[in-house]
């Protein structure tokens, strides 16, 4: 039994549990609206609106405290990205829709998700690439969050919320980089990315076009052409990079697949009775 377990463990990439955990966090966060409603009923709108701020403050204090503790232990931290991350966290708050104070919780949520994603990616890349791809993957998870909410009967998709999620993910990524989190020296780490294939940008562009077109088709059938650029990007990716790393390391195909999977939501909206809000 122990041998079987060890064999299984060896077969599963070390990063996979962290990727799965970040998806679980995502799903869990979608359901926090009921918590908000209960808070609203108990505390009233004005006080309930302060709870997300308090959660974010607590998180930043914990992370800041962690940084101070590391410094005291003689470990180095990078104050510039740490400070920039803290500032971006506040900036992300300013981006949230003031009519819906519950959405402020996205900032803390996505800082947390960025930490988990960085832990998973840290098995494969390091340095600046780790920070960049943590941001990209967290942003793409944020996109999936909003797209899933678009299909949820009680939620809506919002491009503004995607922006909040992205900025928060960047904040979390920079804070983690500043604190040097999850950066053990790893001689077995894969080569640092050397080049990003052009096709990856086509995929990214296709995803952006799909997202930008969605608000026009709220509550209606989403035209199939909105997916054409993204699918064409996928074709180009597999033609050029062959589905491998393309010289850009493990995180790139992870990002590519996350981007390509955004096409699933319009298919679900068109093919089922679910309406995209």
């Amino acid at each position: 039994m122990a041998e079987t377990f060890r064999a299984l463990r060896a077969a599963v990439p070390a990063s996979l549990p962290y990727y799965l955990f970040s998806i679980v966090l995502l799903a869990g966060f979608i359901e926090t609206f009921e918590v908000w409603q209960a808070l609203n009923a108990r505390l009233g709108g004005a006080y309930a609106g302060r709870v997300p701020l308090a959660v974010l403050l607590l998180l930043l204090l914990l992370l800041g405290g962690w940084g101070i503790a590391r410094k005291r232990r003689g470990e180095t931290i990078r104050p510039l990205p740490l400070g920039a991350g803290m500032v971006l966290a506040v900036a992300a708050l300013a981006l949230t829709d003031p009519a819906f104070p519950a959405k402020r919780i996205h900032v803390a949520e996505y800082i947390l998700i960025a930490l988990v994603v960085r832990k998973g990616l840290g098995f494969h890349v390091a340095g600046r690439a780790l920070t960049v791809f943590t941001t990209v993957v967290t942003l793409l998870l944020g996109v999936h969050d909003e797209l899933a909410q678009g299909l949820h009967p009680d939620r809506t998709f919002g491009l503004g919320d995607v922006a909040v999620n992205g900025v928060s993910g960047l904040a979390g990524s920079l804070i983690a980089a500043g604190l040097r989190l999850f950066e053990p020296g790893a001689p077995s780490r894969e080569a640092q990315p050397t080049a990003i294939p052009l096709a990856a940008f086509f995929v990214g562009g296709g995803a952006v076009l799909l997202l930008a077109s969605l608000p026009w088709f709220r509550d209606s059938a989403i035209p199939w052409w909105t997916m054409t650029p993204l699918l064409a990007g996928g074709f180009a990716w597999f033609l050029q990079a062959g589905g491998g790393h393309g010289g850009a390391g493990h995180p790139l195909p992870v990002s590519i697949w996350l981007a390509l999977l955004t096409a699933v939501y319009p298919v679900i909206a068109n093919g089922t009775s679910l309406v995209f809000h």
């Binding site: 409603q37 609203n40 519950a102 026009w216 709220r218 199939w224 064409a232 074709f235 589905g243």
Partner: protein, 539 residues
């Protein structure tokens, strides 16, 4: 290698498929759109070159119907008549909580089946009154953005929008508000109080305010102020339709649900607000303007003066679409009206605000065979005296000629009687036998208390514990004193979402009622009720 070529081929095929579908859709001609714009309480004189100059100018490119009438005295049955072509005698809708039979196949459902997206965008459209009309309600959507999206996706649509800003209270925004100090008698505090009631109350039941004849100029000025404000909004809509290109592909129907009394009989409002309905001309004469793109019909007249009514609108739409509805509609194509068409109308005494929706006792009827107009009322099934007016000689309906022209009164009465006898009573929806269920408990709101607009996060919903497939009844008592209104709403599932409510709607129509008591119970079960919640609305 195999995996690479599998995914490459897959994505190539998907790309090609979506591109082909897009091209095919692009080549398809889109059907004409339809916008039905109903303006709350717009009597015939509400639209004029002086009060609504933008609308008046726009109407030159359409067809005006100078003798159009509503078919009831309050919003529900009139709007249903506009959207379905079915008479209020046949609808079974006489007060709140009523709706047309679910089994009926209606014109809007035909259009939806044929590919039109049929929608209403306002939260109140989720009321029972407008259920089962074939309308998909998308509460809170901005009409301009909604139409822009439809234009982009090239799918024909039908949109019903009801402009509500002209309802009581008459409180136009400051740029449109009249200078009352120049209209009201100086130092007359009582007059000021009466006018304040008109500016603050969503309903003024008959007898609660002792209006005087000298109040009329101020009341009319406030009423017109609301329509000046509407005209400014309409100008935006008209420009939008032109700029978006929708005007070339959209039939626009502009009318009112009903007219409005401005002290002709001593009251201000209509059936649901005075709770003393009548069917005099100030209530039933409504404007109607139709704009039809030239590519559909280029031979339409600028003015039609034959008698028409709300039942004629949907047959006209279908004729313009070149389609036939699956249900036979009694109305006539507005562009093929006979020279002398009779007209009939019916209303319950208090419209939406009937004190006991399950026990409607008092109905008001009217029939017009121009120039003769007959009024009749029944209480508990017994007919009261008839009143007969000659509209050609007495447009104000002040001289009752029923005694001197008994022959005419009897003739019109004989023709009205079959419709009265055959009138569909309100549909009694028998709830299904209750599922084994517990007493529901409130989730949101969780407790009694004060609730402001900000506390709702822009969305008004009720939620309780229970089964998602069970039926529940929400009982409500809104307001107190003269504004008291009570009723029931049937809901499937454990949530009643009224959608997004804008700030003005909240301040105008919710806050004045102040107090709302609500409880929810299992439909069909007598003793499975939640506690009463006592909610107070504040700005």
């Amino acid at each position: 290698m195999a995996r690479r070529w599998f995914f490459t081929s897959l994505f190539a095929a998907l790309t090609l498929a979506t591109a082909v579908v897009a091209l095919v859709r692009l080549a398809e001609p889109a059907g004409p759109n339809l916008i039905v714009l109903t303006v709350e309480g717009a009597r015939r004189e509400a639209f004029s070159a002086e009060t609504t100059p933008n609308l008046w100018r726009a109407a030159r490119s359409g067809t005006r119907f100078g003798r159009h009438r509503a078919v009831s005295a309050w919003t529900g049955p009139n709007v249903i008549a506009v959207l379905t072509g079915i008479s209020p005698f046949d609808q079974g809708v006489h007060t709140r909580g009523n709706s047309v039979p679910r089994s009926w196949r209606l014109p809007l459902e035909d259009l939806a089946d044929w590919g039109w997206r049929v929608a209403g965008l306002q939260s109140f459209m989720q009321m029972d009154l407008f259920r089962d009309l074939g309308l998909t309600v998308e509460p809170g959507a901005d009409p301009f953005q909604w139409m822009a999206r439809r234009a982009a996706e090239r799918r024909p649509f039908v949109l019903w929008y009801h402009y509500v800003g002209t309802h009581l209270p008459y409180a136009p925004a400051p740029p449109f508000r009249p200078a009352l100090e120049t209209i009201l008698p100086r130092g007359d505090a009582a007059a000021r109080r009466r006018i304040d009631a008109v500016m603050t109350m969503p309903a003024i039941p008959a007898g609660t305010v002792s209006f005087q004849p000298q109040d009329r100029p101020a009341v009319e000025a406030l009423y017109r102020g609301g329509f000046k404000e509407f005209d400014a909004w309409f100008a935006g809509l008209w420009d939008f339709l032109a700029l978006s290109g929708l005007r070339d592909h959209t039939i626009v129907v502009l009318t009112a649900d009903h007219g409005e009394e401005l002290l002709e009989r001593g009251n201000v409002g209509h059936a649901s607000t005075t709770r003393s309905a009548h069917l005099y001309e100030e209530i039933v004469r409504t404007p109607l303007v139709l704009w039809v793109p030239r590519r559909i019909r280029s031979d339409l007249p600028a003015q039609v003066d034959a008698v028409s009514d709300h039942l004629d609108i949907m047959p006209t739409v279908f004729a313009l679409f070149g389609r036939k509805p699956s249900r036979r509609l009694p109305g006539t194509d507005l562009f093929a009206l006979p020279p002398a068409k009779p007209w009939s109308a019916v209303t319950s005494r208090a419209g939406f605000a009937e004190p006991d929706p399950k026990n409607l006792r008092h109905f008001v009827y009217a029939r017009l065979e121009y120039p003769w107009k007959l009024h009749l009322e029944t209480v508990d099934g017994k007919a009261g005296p008839m009143r007969l007016f000659n509209l050609a000689a007495d447009a104000g309906e002040t001289r009752d000629l029923s005694a001197v022209r008994r022959d005419v009164a009897n003739r019109l009465g004989d023709r009205l009687l079959p419709a009265i006898l055959a009138m569909r009573p309100p549909a009694v929806r028998t709830p299904a036998a209750p599922l084994a269920a517990d007493r529901p408990r409130w989730v949101f709101p969780a407790a009694s208390g004060d609730y402001g607009y900000g506390d709702l996060s822009g969305r008004f919903r009720l939620q309780w514990t229970g089964k998602p497939d069970a039926r529940y009844i929400v009982q409500y008592v809104a307001g107190e004193g003269v504004l008291r209104l009570e009723g029931e709403i049937e809901v499937r599932g454990t949530t009643k979402d009224f959608g997004v409510i804008d700030r003005r709607y909240w301040d105008t129509w919710i806050v004045p009622y102040r107090r709302f008591r609500i409880r929810v119970g299992v439909a069909g079960a007598r003793d499975l009720w939640s506690e009463w919640l006592d909610l107070r609305a504040k700005s």
